[in-house]
């Protein structure tokens, strides 16, 4: 499973977005994470915002199994659950 990652621009983040991403990677070492790029295909996309507006652009990316947005460190568990759900779905195909 390849998971694209998009950060918001970080004008006034309420938590360390980079650290949150590192923690997610550590928790799911079997998933391949990549900074999202246009023209690439991803199974799933995580949008990491720094505040509730979570304004990062993401329409330009291609992802087949949807996306999840997080804007708080406390969302990490929710993101991990979603990653597991998508991974299971892909494995079942």
């Amino acid at each position: 499973m390849i998971c694209g990652v998009k950060f918001c621009g970080g004008c006034n983040p309420r938590y360390d977005r980079g650290k949150a991403f590192e923690d997610i990677k550590k928790e799911r070492p079997d998933i391949e994470f990549a900074i999202a790029r246009e023209g690439e295909k991803y199974d799933f996309l995580i949008v990491i915002g720094g505040c509730t507006s979570c304004c990062a652009s993401h329409c330009q990316y291609t992802y087949e199994q949807g996306l999840i947005k997080m804007w708080d460190r406390e969302h990490i568990d929710k993101v991990l659950d979603k990653l597991d759900e998508v991974a299971t779905k892909i494995d079942g195909k």
């Binding site: 950060f7 621009g9 004008c11 006034n12 977005r17 900074i35 652009s57």
Partner: protein
């Protein structure tokens, strides 16, 4: 092509920019200790664009080329672009605690783009095409451009053509078949030395007699006949002291202003964007000023974020963080800072498309934004000084804290005494306390106060300039009608 920060620094070395300081020519100005901090600020605008954690604000797709460019070279295509500009500026302010200098170019691009479109429509000129070609070149090479507007202005009571010395407003000295020769100067130009190019704009609305002063063009910063004289800043020579670090407050970053002199500079026809169409000088000034007044609702807020953080740390290090008045002062600083941000976001959200297609901010709200910026940063630094305590301006130098000169009866050094007597809360070392207090000294009344205080007052126009615009845009007549309707007046 996006340049890296290092590539930007190397690109400056290739220029033959002529810089003078303290009456002497500075050959290696890129590495000069008084200039380099300001170059580091501009470098940050390149570094952040390369970082995925910031790229969403720092980069954007060009409407001219379809390529990814640095947002500082962008023509705003929506109100979202306008908001993202403000957010990007807040980010850059947070990362440098200084003026990062690249906004003037961005604001000039957007003002010149829309104005030249309307000039061409009226006069059948080719300025818009000239400008679009020029901006493509800027975007493709990821260049820094100084947007230069402010003339020396001489006698403020006299129009440009009526000045005793005609050079006090930059003007066309000679018209040739292949271009023009310009003469004059632009004052307090932010980031001029660190820019690859300059875009020149007239400084005020003009009449027919001022035709030769209604001129806009682009030229390289190292054009023949162009040179710069570096502006002094409070406490600037601290940067020349050997191994200076703590005493600088902000060793890595700083701002820069210079006098830019045009001593008969040739401008080819394809780099001219206005040449005598005096009736458009006012439009260009108003649009540039509008964008630039919006800018301050982002950049100064980012710097304010760092100041609030520094004040909170000073309270922690002093051991005063639990005092209710300290908490209340930090709340007030945050309230003031976020109010400025609200203004920057509001004038962006209420933006509208120009005839040329790029987006313009709401002029009334942008002027209200800048008017607040002429006041709130002063209150923010007043509160920061209040929280910090007098030590920020009375403590001995870094050299004293590090001195091993024995002066005590038991063999203690000057450093021992300084470290002993200036230790406060156990949460920080004496050096950490010194560092945060020196940071506040620098931003409140040292070299960085140029950018945070006086630039907040006069940059993008002095307070009265905003009040004139607020008066024009204030819609008092409609407000009278509202009052009449409620009061039952027919």
């Amino acid at each position: 092509m996006l340049m890296t920060g290092e590539q930007y620094i190397e690109s400056l070395r290739k220029l033959n920019t002529r810089v003078y300081m303290f009456g002497e020519k500075i050959d290696n100005w890129v590495d000069h200790p008084m200039i380099r901090p300001s170059i580091n600020c501009v470098k940050m605008t390149y570094d952040l664009a390369q970082d995925p954690q910031y790229a969403d604000l720092m980069t954007v797709k060009s409407n001219l080329t379809g390529e990814t460019i640095n947002r500082f070279g962008h023509l705003h295509q929506s109100t979202e672009d306008l908001r993202n500009k403000v957010k990007m500026q807040r980010l850059c302010g947070q990362k440098t605690a200084s003026c990062f200098q690249r906004c003037v170019g961005m604001d000039a691009f957007n003002a010149v783009f829309s104005t030249t479109y309307e000039v061409d429509k009226k006069y059948g000129t080719k300025y818009h095409e000239n400008f679009v070609n020029y901006l493509k070149y800027v975007q493709e090479n990821d260049l820094v451009v100084d947007g230069a507007m402010t003339d020396p202005k001489g006698d403020r009571g006299a129009a440009p053509h009526a000045q005793e010395d005609p050079d006090l407003f930059l003007h066309i000295k000679e018209r040739r078949e292949d271009g023009i020769i310009v003469r004059g100067a632009k004052c307090h130009q932010t980031g001029s030395i660190n820019s690859h190019e300059h875009i020149i704009m007239p400084t005020q609305a003009m009449g027919e007699d001022d035709k030769d002063y209604a001129v806009s063009f682009a030229c390289p910063s190292d054009a023949e006949g162009l040179f710069m004289v570096y502006g002094r800043q409070s406490c600037d020579t601290r940067k020349l002291e050997k191994d200076a670090d703590v005493d600088l407050g902000n060793k890595q970053f700083g701002g820069q202003e210079a006098l830019v002199v045009f001593d008969d500079v040739f401008i080819p026809n394809d780099k001219i964007f206005l040449c005598g169409e005096y009736d458009f000088a006012g439009m260009l000034v108003e649009r540039f000023a509008g964008y630039h007044r919006q800018s301050y609702g982002g950049c100064k807020v980012g710097v304010g974020d760092v100041i609030i953080g520094a004040a909170a740390l000073a309270a922690d290090y002093n051991g005063a963080q639990k005092a209710s008045h300290i908490k209340d002062k930090l709340i007030e600083m945050t309230h003031l800072n976020e109010t400025l941000y609200c203004c920057g976001i509001a004038c962006s959200a209420e933006g509208y498309p120009t005839e040329a297609g790029n987006y313009q901010i709401d002029l009334l709200l942008a002027n209200v934004c800048k008017q607040n910026v002429t006041r709130f940063p002063y209150e923010i630094v007043r509160l920061a000084e209040d929280i910090a305590g007098g030590l920020m301006v009375t403590m001995p130098s870094e050299a004293d804290f590090k001195s091993d000169l024995k002066v005590g009866k038991n063999g203690e050094t000057i450093g021992d005494f300084c470290n002993k007597f200036f230790k406060a809360s156990p949460v920080a070392t004496t050096e950490e306390r010194m560092r945060i207090l020196r940071f506040l000294e620098n931003i409140c009344l040292g070299s960085s106060a140029v950018g945070y205080r006086t630039e907040s007052m006069h940059g993008a126009g002095s307070p009265q300039a905003q009040r004139i615009m607020i008066s024009r845009q204030g819609n008092i007549a409609a407000k009278k009608e509202l009052a009449k309707a409620i009061a039952g007046i027919k």
